[in-house]
Assembly symmetry: C2
Homo-oligomer: 342 residues x 2
C-alpha cells in the first residue's frame, strides 16, 4: 500500500496507488463485501437443523403439484442461483412473467422479488410454491405431503422444537430461508481488492468501477449486493422499448396500486451478474455490455460508449464470488399416504 | 456361525442358523453384492477427468433445447436415481411413454432402457438428449453449445487427451457414462447380511428372501442388480390389464421386430426399489406389495398372498444401499456464442 508515498506526478505509480486507495475507500463505503457466512436471521442465530431441513426442501420436487419442480429448478445453485432463461417455465410448461432472480446472496436484499412484494426470504418462499404458473401447490397439499413422510416429521420436530404441530407451511418457508441464508458468495475479486489485495482488479476493471460510481450506476446499485435495496422506475429518463419493458408488467404498481410506482422495480442486485444472464425483469438482454448501455440511456440519460460499457462490464464480472458447494440431498421416500403427483 | 452345531430339531436356533447359512450361500450365488466402487469400464480404468466432466454434464440443462431439463431431472440422485412419477415429463411438458429407470447401479445392467435397446450407458445417454419428448436436442446443437464454453473445451481436452476434436457428442456420452458408473449403492442390509452380518436381516426379511427364491422371482431378477440382465414377456402366464400393460407399448418387439418379443421387457433391476415407485414400465403401481402380487399372477401363475407379499416386499426394502453423495456442480457460464434456449 502506498499511503505514505512521497509527492509524485499523476502518472506516477505511487499516486495511482493513492488514487486506488481513494477509490477503495469509496467502494468500501458504497458497497462493502460479502461475509464468509451469515450467522443470524432477524437477530436469531441460524439453526443448523433448519438449514439442513431447508436444504432438503430446496431440492424436494414434492413441494410442487407435479412432483417435478423444485426451488432449484429456477434458482439453481449450479448456474449462479438462477435458471438462465428469459422467464421461468413452470407447471404445465407455462412461462412465468419475469426473469428468475438469483438466490445467491438474496439474504442481503432489502426485500424479495422484482417488485419487493416479500419482506424476506421466508415470505418469498411461499410464493412460487403456490403460483399456478410455477409449482402450483397449496399450503394444505404441502403440509399433507410433508406430514406423510416420517423423516420430515422428525426433522421438522427437531428444527422447530416445542411446537405442537411443527410440520406446517410457515415452517417450511422458515427452513427454506435458513438454507438460502447459507447461499452466499464471498471472495469475489472485487471483495479481495476492497480488502487490500491490489492485484485482484486490473486497470480496466478499476476504471469500470470508477465509471460505475461516477456515472451514477451506484446511486441505485449500492450496498453489498450492488442493488436489491430500493425501488426505481425502469426508464427514469427514457423508457426502453416494449420488448425490454413490456407494458403489461407495471412492476411495483401491482403491489402498492400507487400511480408513482408504475414501472417501478427493485434495483437488481449485481453480485454474480456474469452468471445470471439474460438480464432485466423481462430477461430479454443476453449481453452484459448491452445491458450496461441500456441502463445508461434509460436510467442516467447518458450515452455509455462501447469502451465504457466494456470497462463497466469487466468490473461487474469481478463481482463473481466463490459459488456455494452444495451436496445434493438424499430425500426420504414417499409413503402410501403421500399425495400423488398431478 | 453354527456350521459345526450338534444335531438339533427343526425349531432349534442352531439349525435355523445353519439354514441361514444355506440361504446365504444361495443368495451369494444368485445375486452377489454391490462393490464399493466401479474401477473400470469395458476393461479400461475409469478416468477421473471423464467422471468430473460427466458430473457437470449430468446436471447441465444446456444439454436440453429448453435449457431446463438435465439428466438429473428424470434420474435424480436425491430420489433413488429416478423421478418418482408414472412416466417422465419432458420438453413442452410432454409425457414420455415409460417410467424412468433408476440410474443407480445401472452400470451393472446387461443393457439399458426397458427394452434393452442400448448396450451400455454411453449409448443410453444419447437417447434422452435427442428424444423430442425428453430433452429435444441434437448432437449438432449439443456440440455447438459445449464448444462455445471455454471451460468445457478445456475439460473435454483433458478428459479425452490426444483427440483432434475432443468436444463431440460421443465423448459427451462417454463422460456421462463414466460419472454414472460412480452412482452405485453398496452397503445395503441385504449385502451386509450376505457378507456375514447376521442381524442385518430380521426373520420376516429372511423369509421374504426365501420366498423370492423359492417362488421363482429370482429366475428373472438375479445377478447383483436383482434384474437388468435379460428379457422376459410381461404376462408370461397371465397378461395384466391395459392400465398396467398398455397394448400400444410392445416392448422389445419395437427393437427386434420379432414376434416373440411382443410385450417383452428387461427384468427390472430391484436395487433401491423402495425408492423408485411407481412401478413397472407404465409406472401405474405405487405399492410395492401390490407390485409383488401382480408379478406372482402375471409371471409365476401363483397367487402370492398378502402375508407373503409383505415378507417379499420387506426383503426388497433391504436392497436399499448407501445413496451416493453428489455435490451439485458449479457450471461454467454461457458465452455470446452459446445457442440460446428455445
Amino acid at each position: 500500500m502506498a499511503g505514505a508515498a512521497p509527492a509524485a506526478t499523476a502518472s506516477d505509480p505511487a499516486t495511482a496507488a493513492a488514487d486506488g486507495d481513494t477509490l477503495r475507500a469509496t467502494a468500501a463505503a458504497l458497497f462493502g463485501t460479502i461475509p464468509e457466512r451469515v450467522e443470524e436471521l432477524r437477530g436469531k442465530p441460524l439453526s443448523a437443523e433448519q438449514v439442513e431441513l431447508g436444504h432438503m426442501l430446496f431440492f424436494d420436487p414434492r413441494l410442487s403439484r407435479s412432483h417435478l419442480i423444485t426451488c432449484n429448478t429456477c434458482h439453481s445453485v449450479g448456474t449462479g442461483g438462477a435458471d438462465n432463461v428469459p422467464t421461468s417455465i413452470g407447471h404445465g410448461w407455462q412461462r412465468g412473467p419475469r426473469n428468475s432472480p438469483t438466490v445467491l446472496n438474496a439474504v442481503f436484499n432489502g426485500a424479495q422479488f422484482w417488485d419487493g412484494r416479500a419482506a424476506d426470504l421466508a415470505e418469498q418462499a411461499k410464493g412460487p410454491v403456490q403460483a399456478s404458473v410455477e409449482m402450483n401447490s397449496t399450503p394444505e397439499l404441502v403440509e399433507r405431503t410433508l406430514r406423510s413422510i416420517p423423516e420430515y416429521v422428525e426433522r421438522f420436530g427437531r428444527a422447530f422444537p416445542g411446537e405442537a404441530e411443527p410440520v406446517n407451511f410457515d415452517n417450511m418457508a422458515l427452513a427454506l430461508e435458513a438454507f438460502e441464508a447459507t447461499l452466499v458468495t464471498p471472495g469475489s475479486r472485487f471483495d479481495r481488492w476492497v480488502l487490500g489485495e491490489d492485484d485482484a482488479l486490473d486497470a480496466t476493471e478499476r476504471r469500470g468501477l470508477e465509471l460505475f460510481v461516477s456515472s451514477g450506476c451506484a446511486s441505485c446499485h449500492n450496498g453489498r449486493n450492488f442493488g436489491g435495496q430500493a425501488y426505481f422506475p425502469f426508464g427514469v429518463i427514457e423508457r426502453p422499448g416494449a420488448e425490454i419493458l413490456p407494458p403489461g408488467d407495471k412492476g411495483r404498481f401491482e403491489v402498492t396500486a400507487t400511480a408513482s410506482d408504475e414501472y417501478v422495480f427493485r434495483a437488481a442486485p449485481l453480485r454474480n451478474v456474469e452468471l445470471t444472464a439474460p438480464y432485466f425483469h423481462s430477461g430479454q438482454v443476453w449481453d452484459l455490455e448491452q445491458a450496461v448501455a441500456i441502463m445508461g440511456s434509460a436510467q442516467l440519460g447518458r450515452e455509455i460508449d462501447d469502451d465504457e460499457a466494456r470497462a463497466i462490464a469487466a468490473f461487474l464480472r469481478t463481482l463473481t464470488g466463490r459459488q456455494p458447494r452444495v451436496e445434493y440431498p438424499v430425500l426420504p421416500p414417499s409413503t402410501a399416504d403421500t399425495p400423488r403427483p398431478e
